[in-house]
Amino acid sequence: MEQTIEEIYEEAVRDIDAAADEGRIQELAVIYLGRKGKVTRYLRNISQLPAQQRPEAGKRANQVKQALNQTFRDAEERLGSAASTDERLDVSLPGRIPARGRLHPVTQINQEICDIFVRLGFDIAEGPEVEKDWYNFEALNFPKEHPARDMQDTFFISDDIVLRTHTSPLQIRIMEKQAPPVRVIAPGKVYRCDSDLTHTPMFHQVEGLLVDRNVTFGNLKGILTTFVHQMFDEQTSLRFRPSFFPFTEPSAEVDILCVMCRGSGCRVCSSTGWLEVLGSGMVHPAVFENVGYDSTQYTGFAFGMGVERIAMLKYGIDDIRRFFENDYRFLAQF
């Protein structure tokens, strides 16, 4: 046996202290602890020692092996951490961006509208987009050949079937199915044959209907004022203006103070200072008669609004056709 285990240990510690980098440490680890390394060889040769020396020598050699292992680990860490200062990250580099989609602005506004009414205790209902004349017009007190039908440019499938021009047919469908009280909103697509900067042949509406005992026009004003204040802001002024819808009497348009110019007059409000955002009114007794509700017992109000219109005001969009081009650069903004 040439070297004692103590000599091997001291030599190893000297070498490790002198090592300049991680690579040298790894070489030394092979030299001392590898399969043909000095410590390994020493351990293998213990069998050649006299029998009474073997246990002590084996125990000592294993202690050295463990100690060296730890020394190597410490050395690696010491030299490694010095290197890591050179590997600092440029945290200003862009991260890996997970792909992210956007909900269509009409969907977002629609959800916002629905959420407000759901919080006020309304249900949500839906119905067909292709509708019978009865539901779209007749039952809503638009007689055949009545000029009121001119208020809505209608797409016809046949004499008796149309693309619904408003979500109001849901009023009839709901009341046919359900006894009062009714508190429901009905969002959905509607169709009118018209196309320009402010009209597309398809757009979205949200209809509302509340029928119960003792419902008043004052209630209608209260609910719609609450809605406008939540949708826009608490400071938004409203005005209720007499209008005409065959299925409501009295009927009211709801204007809000122009969100662009705050009432001083601009292009968006055609210099009037006001923007029409809702149509509404007390349910016409003829409509109650058509669905078999007792109009001496129940009163109600109905309202409807255009979702794109509100989205245009909220987001400052000046061309309604943008909503249906599905241009990524547009959709990505919302």
């Binding site: 797409f155 044959c193 249906f324």
Partner: protein
């Protein structure tokens, strides 16, 4: 309806300024669209002094005038006989728009430049004198606009009337509302009674053959008139509301229509065969030429005004060329009738004609106002045309008007409106617009609406009158009491919301396309003849050919959107849409409306960055989205099977799969076929999926039962098999999953390899099987044995080999 304030003042004093008046009208339901000054066009017409006049070198009748307009002097060619040096006259500068709409331009007249135009009264719409240029007299500053110099101003209000208010299609109608809100008196025009005895019955007769179409027809005759231009006051009234003066007879009928709302028509009495009127429906196919020179083919339900032989007018819409007032007319028959609104509307629509008259008749004129309007017209025609009114009038009235009394409860009105108005206040409001009131008791009023208020028939109609005239904005806002009985949101809504959230989470943006499609969209998608999506619902009056039918697939809308995005240089497009498709059940049935979700992926899987190179997306990207979507809904077991080539209509053969749940096809995923790409003008690959929402929703578990987490560790073993290239990997996966060995927890395919050293026609598949027991930590020995068993069975079942 256009109203000039100068005319309106004939019936009601106007105390308010125009803005206040316009706002007040809007707030009682007569929405004012615009307020303009009808003399604004005269701002560019200046006061000029004719400094010198010399003859035009190339024209005997023309002169060249130097006109001083303040700072500058203009050279103006003029042909008026009365042009004299020193005279003050209006000179229009280039750009001036005249009352008839023409715009003055700088011009060269017979070789001489004219920098403006000296104008006559009639050219400026300021009078009837056409004999020469207007003499402004003295005392006007040179260069001032004549609008200022003459103090010309008249507000013109355009009211956007709702169809329920035909009574306001007249000056008196608007004046009545103004009188009510200003609390001012309304003055009706005076009509002195006819002096002569009634001999009209000897001169003409009226027979109504279709009383349902024509409940009332009145006629009056004016004899010995001379047709000519109207006096200026009448022309001015008409021009103030945008009507063009024609002659003294026609102008009177238009004037009275605007005044009262009752359309009238004047016939040349001597052109009427037998000098009489027959009101009847047309003979099928009968030809007729209306006043505008257009020829019509009539149908049997159209109401015509006829003489003893032939039609002379389309009732309520337009007169005929054959009985038109002309220069030689000396005797005039004036018609003032009440026609059935539905009849007039139907005819006007069928013939594609809309006139001031039909607009009023369709909405309903005052059924009791016919005779009064006729008397007013006859009186004016006689005055202006220098004629005599034949005594008396014909009043054929087979169906007399019957007004009803409405019982109106003050208490109920307050309950519906949420107001607290007393009986007298309500009665005063109704009286202010000419309703007659009778007190029944403390609560109930008997109300008779005036005949011109054709829109009022129920107590609710009166409630609106009360509300609008007392002011909608004076009604207090209150909140209804809503009981706390919250109902669950409909499942479809929750499903759709989650669907959208998931898709957005996968990086897809939501598209909304029109529900319309081109008629040939079935061909563009290469659908077979018997595909249900060929059963399109056609729109009778589409806006464009591209929107002629309702869509039967969401795919064309997404491909259109893709095309637009590529054109706008958006190179990666991930879009989805949730919306309905429409399958026709025949034109007279409502179609089947099926809600679908579809997605489209085009371009790269990931954008290039400093971290990774850009990589194009492929089938497995799209399939992964679908798998993740189904997992998001906790669908327990979905399958994807190769779509048979024969079913690949718009997706690429061998690159398309059907999506199945419980053995039912709920949708497809695949690459768009090159043929279909081409028909949408696209080239590069695009990947799509579409799923029937209802089918998916019905297979989505509604309840989730949590499983306990495992207590003991799992052990994994890998296996690589070399199998036939065409073997679907899912068969091996299913085989492992379905093994009877209960310790198999899951299996995962982690590598697929083809090519050297794997023999041609083969592929290697590597799986990792995870084993776990719920009751103990598995021993290596045990796992090895099970894994060996499974491996052997797989080798046997799939004629597989182990790698060498």
């Amino acid at each position: 309806m256009i109203v000039s304030l100068s005319w309106l003042r004939d019936y009601v004093p106007i105390e308010w300024d125009t803005d206040r008046l316009a706002n007040a009208l809007t707030m009682i339901g007569l929405e004012v669209d615009s307020v303009t000054d009808r003399y604004d066009h005269l701002k560019q017409v200046r006061v000029g002094r004719i400094a010198s006049v010399r003859p035009h070198p190339n024209a005997d009748k023309l002169k060249i005038c130097e006109v001083a307009v303040g700072d500058e002097t203009l050279s103006v060619v003029c042909g008026a006989p009365n042009v004299t040096e020193g005279m003050l006259s209006p000179v229009a500068l280039p750009g001036t728009q005249f009352a008839d709409g023409t715009v003055l331009e700088k011009s060269t007249i017979r070789g001489e430049i004219s920098e403006g135009m000296l104008c006559s009264e009639i050219e400026l719409g300021l009078g009837a004198d056409r004999s020469g240029i207007m003499n402004l007299g003295s005392g006007h500053p040179l260069g001032a606009s004549i609008k200022d110099a003459l103090g010309l101003s008249d507000a013109v209000i355009e009211v956007d009337l709702t169809p329920n208010r035909p009574d306001c299609l007249s000056l008196i109608g608007i004046a009545r509302e103004v009188a009510a809100i200003q609390n001012a008196p309304l003055t009706y025009p005076e009509i002195p009674p006819d002096a002569s005895d009634g001999n009209i019955g000897e001169l003409t007769s009226v027979i109504i053959e279709d009383p349902d179409h024509c409940p009332r027809y009145t006629a009056k005759l004016v004899l010995d008139i001379t047709v000519g231009p109207s006096p200026f006051w009448l022309q001015d009234r008409l021009m103030s509301v945008g009507l063009r003066p024609i002659n003294n007879i026609v102008d009177v009928t238009n004037f009275v229509m605007m005044e009262t709302g009752q359309p009238l028509h004047a016939f040349d009495y001597d052109l009427l065969a037998d000098n009489r009127i027959v009101v009847r429906t047309a003979k099928e196919g009968e030809p007729f030429v209306s006043l505008d020179g257009k020829e019509h083919r009539l149908s049997g339900d159209m109401l015509m005004i006829c003489d003893g032989e032939k039609p002379v007018g389309i009732a309520g819409i337009m007169g005929g060329l054959n009985s038109e007032i002309n220069d030689r007319t000396t005797r005039v028959l004036i018609e003032s009738a009440y026609f059935n609104p539905v009849s007039i509307r139907r005819t006007a629509k069928t013939l594609g004609m809309g006139t001031d008259a039909s607009h009023r008749f369709e909405r309903g004129v005052d059924p009791a106002g016919t005779m009064r309007a006729n008397e007013r017209s006859a009186r004016l025609i006689a005055e202006l045309g220098g004629g005599n009114i034949a005594g008396g009038a014909i009043d054929a009235n087979p169906i007399p008007y019957q007004g009803g009394r409405i019982l109106f409860s003050v208490g109920k009105t307050n309950r519906v409106l949420g107001t607290n108005l007393n009986r007298d206040a309500m009665a005063d409001i109704l009286k202010s617009i000419e309703f007659s009131i009778e007190t029944i008791d403390d609560d109930v009023l008997g109300v008779v609406a005036p005949t011109f208020r054709v829109d009022v028939s129920r107590p609710e109609d009166l409630m609106e009158e009360i509300a609008r005239l007392s002011g909608y904005n004076n009604i207090p806002e209150t909140t209804p009491l809503i009981p706390a009985e919250g109902r669950p949101l409909a499942m479809t809504l929750r499903f759709r919301e989650k669907l959208r959230e998931l898709m957005v989470g996968f990086g897809f943006s939501e598209a909304i396309a029109y529900s319309f499609a081109a008629r040939r969209s079935g061909d563009m998608l290469n659908l077979p003849k018997d595909d249900p999506r060929r059963r399109t619902l056609a729109i009778l009056n589409p806006l464009t050919e591209d929107q002629a039918v309702m869509r039967t697939s969401l795919i064309p809308g997404l491909l259109d959107a893709l095309g637009r995005n590529i054109a706008r240089q958006n190179r990666t497009v991930r879009l989805f849409e949730v919306g309905k498709i429409f399958i026709s059940r025949g034109r007279n049935e409502l179609p089947e409306e099926i809600e679908m979700v579809a997605g489209l992926w085009f371009g790269s899987r990931q954008d290039g960055s400093w971290l990774a190179e850009e990589a194009p997306c492929d089938f497995y990207d799209m399939k992964g989205v679908v798998e993740s979507l189904l997992a998001g809904f906790n669908v327990p077991r979905a399958e994807f099977t190769a779509m048979p080539d024969s079913a690949c209509n718009y997706t690429r053969s061998g690159h398309s799969a059907e999506i199945l749940i419980d053995g039912e096809v709920i949708g497809i995923v695949g690459e768009v076929s090159s043929g279909v790409l081409a028909s949408f003008d696209l080239e590069q690959p695009a990947f799509i999926f579409e799923i029937d929402c209802h089918q998916l929703m019905n297979r989505t578990p509604t309840e989730i039962q949590a499983r306990p987490l495992p207590k003991f560790p799992a052990t994994a073993r890998d296996i690589t098999l070399i199998v036939d290239r065409n073997l679907e990997s899912v068969r091996i996966l299913d085989n492992i999953r379905n093994t009877e060995e209960t310790l198999v927890e899951s299996v995962h395919l982690f590598d697929v390899f083809e090519g050297d050293p794997i023999p041609q026609g083969k592929k290697s598949l590597s799986f990792r099987i995870t084993y776990r027991s719920s009751s103990q930590t598995l021993e290596d020995e045990q796992v090895n044995r099970i894994h060996r068993d499974i491996s052997e069975k797989l080798i046997q079942s799939f004629k597989a080999e182990l790698p060498g």
